[in-house]
């Protein structure tokens, strides 16, 4: 972590004012910590990242009963052991920056497991207030708590809360202020871990006080002693303490009585405390009804049904995505190719712009960027459904059912998360590999992420399935995603047996209960995930569209695009693609520019196949008529989209008729591709080299171009090989029509 103190970071208060009370919010993952903080802080919340890592950091500065409070959200962790990035961040913050108070958010429906972290937090000696969250659900389950018992036994304040219902929040803040007013009276109790442990701790304390007294000014005493006794290597290196500086005779007795592993001994001691406390303060009804989550999980996590259900869920996502978004994509296409192009031409004519700038604007920028924007509805719709699956708790199950497949690749289920992120965009997937513990897992996962079909590839699929597979577009796109996953498994196995030998470590996966995500949060997260596609369209896709236009029109005055610089480059590459069924200079040129970003493949095709000005047959319309047409056709798109939802679920009589009017680009590619070569082309786009931004991300994460080089080499070979198998195999089977 960078140098920072809890009391000065981003403080918006003047130096004369009393400093804000710094409250760290700690808890297990999925206990409603973020919801609680959002409910308390609202718009005062500042979202950022912990320094140097991609773990999200939330902070809020606000006033309660006249006292300024700074809330700092720590990453969700199960313990303060220094093994994962989240644990290290939380622990470093608590130990080194020492907040005034800790709010420990505890899941009331899962008290015993959550208490493990509580016990560790108490070792820090910082006053703790426990937010017993999801209290309403616990009560509904028939759980009863002895709140006074928890307070007495642990020496921490306890407030029942329900963050989703915003209940108990004022009481929680009142308790925070009450505790902070008299911190000495609210020190957590020192739990007794057994005579042997306590004797060892006392002896170690005596030794360190004698030989390294300065350490106690830097670290909380009990925490320091317990961690050193557990053999915390990271801490020992941090304080520059040699292994032999710790008197072995202190631990000898412990080891003889309890085995070699003192860390396991301490974990046992803490779990015993947690279990004992839970038994004392929590009363459950005798007859435990089968929970809804459990009932669903019996089916969803079934070893035979799990993967088919996952594949079926993904199929439904693609089908719904395509059916719902297509009318909006068509609407943008009509607008970009019609009124927008027309009025741009008129406007440039009015200012006396040279003819070639009109061509650059309409055939270059509008055709290039416009063809990418056409697919924005598809991308947003896809992100919406993926966000829904994440928020509902199903994606965690998907990771769980895929765990066996991940182990076959030499990875554990945790690697599935960066791979899942890769479906949105490969770049955050690459950065998310930072959350994996060992470098081998990081590199192997990063090498497989580009095989996950990112949103940028969707425009290519949508264009081609619209032209060649209009009757079952969702199924064809789904097959490409499944092909990506299957090849990731195959390549994972291959890498495991060649470059990355060894077994994946074991990992406990959290399965949160099923919840219905709120529509507002779904929309916010969808926007967060999808907006960078819009940013891309306005930045480097715009820039590349301009370059492509010049490359298609240079040398100046070139008659045919085939003879342009880009056409010539495409002609050089085309023979390599001939065995794959798309050995044309147009396809080759599009693939060359698509290296910048995959959606540029369609942007370039849009420019290459853009009709010349004279070829456009659109009748002239007034500005008012065009505005009216835009509004009317949008209404039609909404209606068609709604009809498509109905047809998705099989009530086809209500579905809209298939639109016969196809855009000029679709019509042109129908003349140059066959369904088989179109599918081979999509397979090639799915697999061929990662885009430039992924290359940069890999370079940053792994410190050299070496692993990008490996990804480039194997993906190029894989793309060529798979597309060749599809095309040549299809022809052998007589599908090459």
């Amino acid at each position: 972590m960078t140098e920072q103190t809890p009391h000065t970071a981003n403080d918006a208060v003047s130096s004369a004012a009393p400093r804000p009370l710094v409250v760290a919010v700690a808890g297990n993952p999925n206990v409603g910590k973020s919801t609680l903080i959002n409910a308390i802080a609202g718009t005062r919340l500042q979202v950022g990242n912990w320094p140097g890592v991609t773990v999200e950091k939330k902070e809020a500065l606000f006033e309660h009963n006249g006292r300024k409070i700074r809330l700092v959200d720590l990453p969700g962790t199960y313990s303060l052991s220094p093994y994962t990035q989240e644990e290290i961040i939380a622990r470093d913050y608590l130990v080194k920056l020492r907040p005034d108070l800790i709010v420990n958010v505890v899941d009331a429906t899962n008290l015993e497991r959550n208490l493990y972290l509580t016990v560790q937090l108490m070792e820090l000696g910082i006053p703790v207030v426990m937010a017993l969250n999801i209290y309403d659900e616990a009560e509904a389950k028939g759980y009863r708590f002895n709140l006074h018992g928890i307070e007495t036994m642990l020496g921490v304040g306890v407030v029942p809360t329900s963050a989703t219902r915003r209940s108990g929040l004022t009481e929680l803040l009142d308790k925070v202020l009450e505790t902070a007013a008299q911190p000495a009276d609210h020190a957590p109790r020192i739990l007794n871990y057994g005579d042997d442990v306590e004797t060892a701790v006392a002896l170690l304390g005596d030794t360190l006080r004698r030989e390294h007294p300065a350490l106690f000014a830097l670290y909380p005493e009990r925490w320091l002693l317990l961690r050193l006794m557990e053999g915390d290597e990271r801490l020992r290196q941090e304080i520059n303490l040699a292994q032999d500086a710790l008197p072995e005779e202190i631990f000898h007795h412990l080891r003889r009585g309890h085995g070699e592993d003192l860390e396991a001994l301490m974990a046992d001691a803490r779990y015993s405390q947690a279990a004992g406390l839970a038994r004392e303060v929590l009363f459950k009804k005798e007859e435990r009804r089968v929970e809804m989550t459990e009932r669903i999980d019996r089916v969803v996590l079934n070893r035979f049904l799990g993967i088919p259900i996952f594949l079926a869920a993904m199929w439904l996502v693609f089908k719904l995505t395509f059916d719902l978004s297509k009318p909006f994509g068509d609407w943008i296409n009509d607008m970009a190719g019609g009124p927008f192009k027309h009025w741009t031409t008129v406007l440039l004519g009015l200012v006396g712009a040279p003819d070639w700038t009109v061509s650059l604007a309409t055939e270059g920028v509008i055709s290039g960027v416009g063809f990418v924007l056409v697919f924005v509805p598809v991308i947003f719709m896809m992100m919406f459904f993926i966000t829904f699956l994440e928020g509902s708790g199903y994606m965690a199950r998907a990771a769980f059912v895929m765990d066996r497949a991940m182990h076959a690749m030499g990875l554990h289920g945790k690697s599935f998360i960066p791979l899942l992120l890769g479906f949105g965009c490969n770049v955050p997937g690459i950065y998310a590999t930072r959350t994996l513990e060992n470098p081998r897992d990081k590199v192997l996962t990063a090498l497989l992420i580009p095989l996950m079909s990112c949103g940028a590839r969707l425009p290519v699929y949508v264009l081609f399935v619209g032209a060649f597979f209009p009757n079952n577009p969702g199924t064809v796109i789904w097959s490409l995603y499944v092909l990506g996953i299957a090849l990731a498994i195959v390549m994972g196995v291959f890498f495991k047996r060649t470059l990355f030998r060894g077994e994946a470590p074991m990992f406990i996966m959290e399965l949160p209960p099923y919840r219905m995500p709120s529509f507002t949060s779904l929309c916010l997260h969808t926007w967060e995930k999808g907006k960078h596609f819009l940013i891309k369209a306005g930045t480097y896709i715009l820039a590349v569209s301009i370059f492509v236009w010049f490359l298609l029109n240079l040398p100046w005055g070139v008659e045919h695009k085939k003879d342009s610089y880009l056409g010539q480059a495409g002609q050089v590459m085309a023979p390599v693609l001939s065995p794959l069924g798309f050995g044309t200079w147009q396809a080759a040129s599009s693939l060359i520019t698509g290296v910048i970003a995959k959606e540029i493949v369609v942007g370039t095709m849009g420019e290459i196949y853009a009709p010349k000005k004279g070829e456009q047959k659109k009748p002239e319309a007034s500005f008012g008529e065009d505005l009216q047409e835009i509004a009317v056709s949008f209404g039609k798109a909404v209606k068609e989209s709604a009809s498509n939802v109905v047809s998705t679920f099989g009530v086809s009589s209500l579905a809209a008729d298939e639109k016969e009017d196809r855009g000029p680009l679709k019509a042109t590619i129908q003349q140059t591709f066959t369904p088989l070569s179109a599918y081979a082309f999509m397979v090639f786009v799915l697999l061929y080299m990662p885009c430039v931004v992924v290359a940069i991300a890999m370079r940053q994460e792994f410190g050299s171009w070496k692993w990008f080089g490996v990804a480039f080499a194997y993906q190029s070979a894989l793309a060529w090989g798979m597309a060749m198998i599809v095309y040549q195999g299809g022809q052998l089977l007589g599908w090459g029509v």
Binding site: V53, V55, P428, H532, T539, V544, F547, A697
Partner: protein
């Protein structure tokens, strides 16, 4: 093609190159999380 066309062409190409450099290399592309500052040191 006159001098004005050539100058305009150079300006447009330079603008595109700057946009490409800024968005691809200087900002290292865009990804969800960039706004949060997590990619600030990338």
């Amino acid at each position: 093609m006159g001098a004005f066309d050539i100058v305009l062409m150079i300006v447009i190409l330079a603008g595109a190159a700057w946009l490409l450099y800024r968005s691809l290399w200087k900002k290292k592309g865009h990804c969800p999380g960039c706004d949060g500052g997590g990619c600030g040191d990338k």
